[in-house]
Symmetry: C2
Subunit: 327 residues, 2 copies
């Protein structure tokens, strides 16, 4: 089982490669090789019983995708994207990276030919949905994104389904919840504060909350995200039929409930580190985002997330802080 990870230097990509190296196999098949690809240099590869190769390049450049699939990897994780804030600020870059980059990859796979049809796991996003919403978004609700990022992800979902239907590859599109608590530095995603209000207090710093306590959103931990990817890589895709894109389970809660969970799991002193600084721009963006889902299909397909925001905080403390929090 040879694996290609595109977007391997990102937070999710790095965790996925760590997991694959630790597991040594996927779906019962031993891993022969992992190729990491990203537009920036990934950190040193983790210890593994097989080779981990690393390439730096831009998937949106003609010919780049062809080089990556020439060795016919059996499994491809396509995680590479620029985030919502950047895709909104730079129209051309968003379409070039998030749409054209993905299409180049799909086309490169098609052009390998000779019966080559790898499993392709693609990270989509709940940003494919746009307000107004029902109380909980069902599995057959339409995609009417309110950002260019969401538009690009929704288009890639359609391509993924058509290429899969044609037998060009065996695709699974995963509509990731907002990943929370996101470790490390904030990125350009407008959703950054959902993680910031937990991560910063737990590491002894202040966090800014730009929206009201009643804002409801949809979360899953980085650990759950890796679980989604591993499950999609090994699942029986005949269960998907022609509907290749799956809304994943997650935790729906308000910012107020996030903060209450922080108080319960860590203590009230951490809650005091959250500063409320309302920001009209962010409030307006967030108002168009999904709040809650009824992800029956994703659950039936065996995808699993946390069952409470308390658990999401505990995962962060265990996986990122070595089980300890700053007092």
């Amino acid at each position: 089982m040879d694996i290609l990870v595109i977007g391997a230097a990102g937070m999710v990509g790095a965790k996925l490669v760590n997991k694959l190296c630790a597991a040594g196999e996927i779906g019962g098949k031993p891993i022969g090789k992992i190729v990491r690809h990203d537009v920036v240099v990934a950190g040193p590869p983790p210890a593994s019983s097989f080779s981990v190769e690393t390439f730096v390049g831009d998937l949106s450049v003609e010919g780049e995708a062809g080089k990556l699939v020439a060795s016919r990897p059996h499994l491809i994780f396509h995680l590479a994207a620029i985030v919502s804030g950047e895709a909104e600020a730079d129209f051309e870059k968003g379409y070039r990276i998030n749409l054209d980059g993905t299409r180049h990859l799909f086309e490169a796979i098609r052009k390998v030919g000779g019966g080559y049809a790898p499993r392709v796991v693609f990270t989509s996003s709940i940003a494919v949905f746009g307000a107004p919403f029902p109380e909980a978004i069902g599995d057959e609700f339409f995609t009417s994104p309110l950002t260019s990022y969401g538009t690009q992800k929704a288009i890639c979902e359609l391509l993924l389904a058509d290429y899969s239907r044609r037998g060009i590859f065996d695709g699974v599109g995963l509509r990731f919840p907002t990943i929370c608590v996101r470790p490390g530095k904030p990125n350009l995603a407008a959703s950054g504060f959902f993680s910031g209000i937990i991560r910063e207090p737990l590491s002894g710093a202040e966090a800014v909350l730009p929206v009201g306590d009643d804002v409801r959103h949809w979360h899953a931990s980085p650990r759950a995200a890796i679980g989604f990817l591993m499950h999609a890589a090994a699942m029986n895709t005949t269960e998907l039929g022609a509907r290749r894109n799956v809304t994943l389970p997650g935790v729906s809660c308000t910012v107020g409930e996030q903060i209450a969970a922080l108080g319960r799991v860590a203590g009230p002193q951490f809650v005091k580190r959250i500063k409320r600084e309302p920001n009209e721009t962010i409030m307006k963006i967030v108002a168009g985002w999904p709040r809650n889902f009824d992800p029956k299909r994703g659950q039936a397909l065996g995808f699993k997330a946390e069952s409470s925001f308390d658990d999401i905080i505990r995962v962060h403390i265990d996986d990122e802080l070595g089980g300890k929090i700053a007092g």
Copy 2:
């Protein structure tokens, strides 16, 4: 009001230009000029009080769209596409014409700049939907096409909405029902028989019916189609909000009900000209197609179709046969 019609040599395009020339105005604004564009030569232009220019070219060729929008037409009808059967048979051509051609047009408009933001009316299709369906497809049902044609139309809908949201143009996407009774020769669309079983008997010829009488489908006449386009060109688009694509009203009926209507409107002798020749391939394709809609939004927005299949047949007799039918 300068108007660009892309796909002007097709059946709908030609009828639209005729209508525009006869009306002389649209939404109360006098027409200054019409530019017709298609990959094949359109017929002679109809009589009009303004100039009708005709260009032949391929929208999917780099630079072609830029030439068309350089004169900053106020209103653009984008009707050009290859049909479902051809897009399924030729993967690359389908994506090149139906997706890249449309994207070139949208990009060319963006690059004009200087506040240029024309009304763009785009013909999408009910092929953006794929089985299994609810009893009647509502306005928020998801797009999970089962053909490459439907995929390409669904992607163009997403682009149209995002470009409109960004203020690049003022787009309206129309999910056309199957146009019936389609005049003239059959095209490569697998849906051709829905028209054939009415058109051929009425002109004295035999027609082949490749599916069962219980097959239900969604229809509107060519006259209704032109009405949809004229309404979309002049409507107040603020009512659309960010949801720029509209499922249009139509008539849901079975093939058996179509045939019964033919008997009522024309006479039983016409029904005898329909030959049942079941075709597994066509039956399989048609099984994935929408059967019925609940197009509340399109109706509320003022779009109008026929209210019975009898009316659809009468429109054909009036508009195509001069009110007379072969005995």
